[in-house]
């Protein structure tokens, strides 16, 4: 029997779901980010210790995920602005979504080396 009462929405619905998910993820990052940055007020040494634990390949991978979430949220945010303020926006929402995904993929490829380069050198050595 189908599990099913999931609504089979199309691009618009899934872009909204992705927008929500990336938004929540970014919120959690900001929460941690505010906390660790505030640590510098407590003691600069403690701040240095905490930031030093971030210099691992796993955190680098998380950073790449953060780049992915922020890029999608930002680009899709522009699409939503266009949907609301550009008279032809609702009619071209699908094309705009695929443009967002295209630009996102290009930027993610571009972010590979700057974000993950150091971690790759660390793991595989050079």
């Amino acid at each position: 029997m189908p599990a099913g009462t999931l609504y089979r929405g199309r691009e618009g619905m899934w872009s909204w779901v992705a927008h929500r998910v990336t938004g929540v993820l970014i919120f959690f990052f900001l929460f941690v980010h505010v906390l660790d940055t505030a640590l510098v007020r407590v003691s600069p040494e403690a701040y240095d210790d905490v930031v030093a634990t971030y210099k691992t390949p796993i955190v680098a991978l998380l950073e790449y995920g953060l780049v992915a979430a922020i890029l999608f949220h930002a680009l899709n945010g522009l699409r939503i602005v266009a949907v609301d303020f550009w008279a032809k926006g609702p009619r071209y929402q699908k094309q705009m979504l695929w443009s967002v995904v295209g630009i996102w993929v290009v930027l993610m490829v571009g972010a590979l080396y700057p974000v993950l380069g150091h971690a790759v050198r660390e793991v595989f050595g050079s």
Binding site: M1, G4, R8, G9, G12, M13, G89, P90, Q93
Partner: protein, 252 residues
């Protein structure tokens, strides 16, 4: 000359167009159980027939307790909106061949409204939101002695939203409405749009004020489920966006 024609008809009917289809219907009867459950029905049907015909076959020949709404059965009354294969559609406008009959076709009640029995939901909240936007002509001053004239351009402005049949396919496809039934929903906004942008109407300000509410147009998250679901092809999200922009610019 009649004989050849008859021969042809007989030859065609020899190859039966009927196929066996599994109809998987979400049944709910509060007098029997609090839980809804899926029930399969296997029926012989011409794939060029509609899902509504399949439901009729079940109700008339197999299980008379199957409950669903339908009136005109031709896509005008808006009674038989239901979720077919996970999407809101009118059963009377959906052909069997278009919903992948090789696999079981799932039929459920529309989402976000209380299910009363099987495919019948309580439409009262939906129609209350519709009434709340005052879907009738509001004018000031003396009544004209003749009809209220309007240019074709002015009529064109709101043509899209006059097509609504109040089937609730859009409102019950909206994730915001599922989570909070207080939201006016796409259908009510579409019907407000129909009068807000009507050059003969003078109640636009009032309607915009109603839709400026926290449960009004600003709840829209532009998921486009409503536009995809509308059996009349109304660009629902576009209409909502136009109301939003009218609220910002106060030009309509």
């Amino acid at each position: 000359m009649a004989t050849p024609t008859l021969d042809k008809v007989e030859a065609e009917s020899a190859a039966s167009p009927y196929i066996t289809v599994t109809l998987r219907i979400r049944r709910f009867n509060p007098e029997v159980s609090d839980e809804a459950q899926w029930q399969d029905f296997r029926i012989e049907i011409d794939p060029k027939e509609r899902v509504l015909d399949a439901l009729h076959k079940v109700k008339w020949d197999i299980d008379g307790t199957l409950t669903f709404r339908r009136s005109c059965a031709h896509g005008i009354c808006g009674s038989d909106a239901m979720r077919i294969n996970g999407k809101n559609r009118l059963a009377c406008k959906t052909l069997i061949k278009d919903v992948n009959p090789e696999k079981p076709i799932t039929v459920e009640a529309i989402k976000g409204l209380t299910v009363l029995k099987d495919l019948v939901v309580d439409m009262d909240p939906f129609f209350q939101a519709y009434r709340d936007v005052m879907p009738f002509l509001i004018t000031k001053g003396n009544e004209p002695t003749r009809e209220r004239l309007q240019s074709p351009e002015d009529r064109e402005r709101f043509d899209d939203t006059t097509k609504c049949i109040l089937c609730a396919a859009c409102t019950s496809s909206c994730p915001v409405f599922w989570n909070d039934g207080q939201y006016f929903g796409p259908a009510a906004i579409v019907n407000a749009h129909r009068f807000i942008f009507d050059s003969r109407d003078e109640g636009g300000e009032q309607r915009l004020e109603i839709l400026n509410d926290r449960d009004g147009v600003w709840r829209c998250r532009t998921t486009f489920n409503c536009t995809d679901a509308c059996p009349r092809g109304i660009e629902v999200t576009k209409a909502i966006q136009e109301v939003k922009r009218a609220l910002i610019t106060r030009r309509f």
